[in-house]
Subunit: 127 residues, 2 copies
């Protein structure tokens, strides 16, 4: 068994939040079928808007999250989870005055047929 202590991880600043990506501090080889991280949003702060091809499953492990996506903002209590789709833009808010918000996230590349179609930037010119 291996253990991973969020309190002893090395967090790096990413804008207003602190992020500890597991692959930067642990050796997993091919054991995990996903990338993993903890991140902390300080009281009153928000993450920068993020959008990526990997679906992302997140578990709130401390505090209360407010997760903003295109359809609105949802409150996520400690112990609950949210799954972001591939290419779903998101911002994570900590609306409390004094409680850090800490989240565990797992993310992975989707199957090829689950990737969003690349956006067309123009029609081919007539030739």
């Amino acid at each position: 068994m291996r253990t991973f202590d969020s309190g002893k991880s090395t967090f790096v600043e990413v804008g207003p939040i602190q992020v500890a990506r597991w692959e930067q501090q642990y050796q997993f080889g091919t054991t995990l079928p996903f990338g993993a991280m903890w991140y902390t949003v300080p009281p009153g702060e928000s993450s920068v808007r993020d959008c990526h091809p990997e679906p992302e499953l997140s578990i709130v492990v401390a505090g209360t999250g407010f997760v903003e996506v295109a359809s609105g903002t949802t409150e996520i209590a400690v112990g609950s989870a949210f799954l972001l789709d591939s290419e779903e833009a998101h911002v994570i808010h900590n609306r409390t005055a004094d409680s850090p918000l800490t989240i565990f996230s797992a993310y992975w590349m989707p199957l090829a047929d689950q990737l969003a179609e690349p956006a067309l930037v123009g029609e081919p010119a007539d030739v």
Copy 2:
């Protein structure tokens, strides 16, 4: 975005613990590269000994876990994680008097070359 509220999940009794397997209440298709569940160990209780080919990554989301494996028992604080190897037997204890222990777990079949060799139960007979 989809959300998963541990407090609104349907838990079923598995010995002394309550388990909510995600695939029994949500439709994921091939989105997730792992199975997932929440489980709760009541105060003073322990899970039954479990051992399976799937590695299992667990996050303590409420309470404090004591995880017993062959090499000993380790305390896991809320927000921290533990990774059980393929075929690593484990028992999860809640040693508190009044606080439920709730854990999120993800589990998956390992790559073929990571599976434990089947135990030999005897040498082939001479012929």
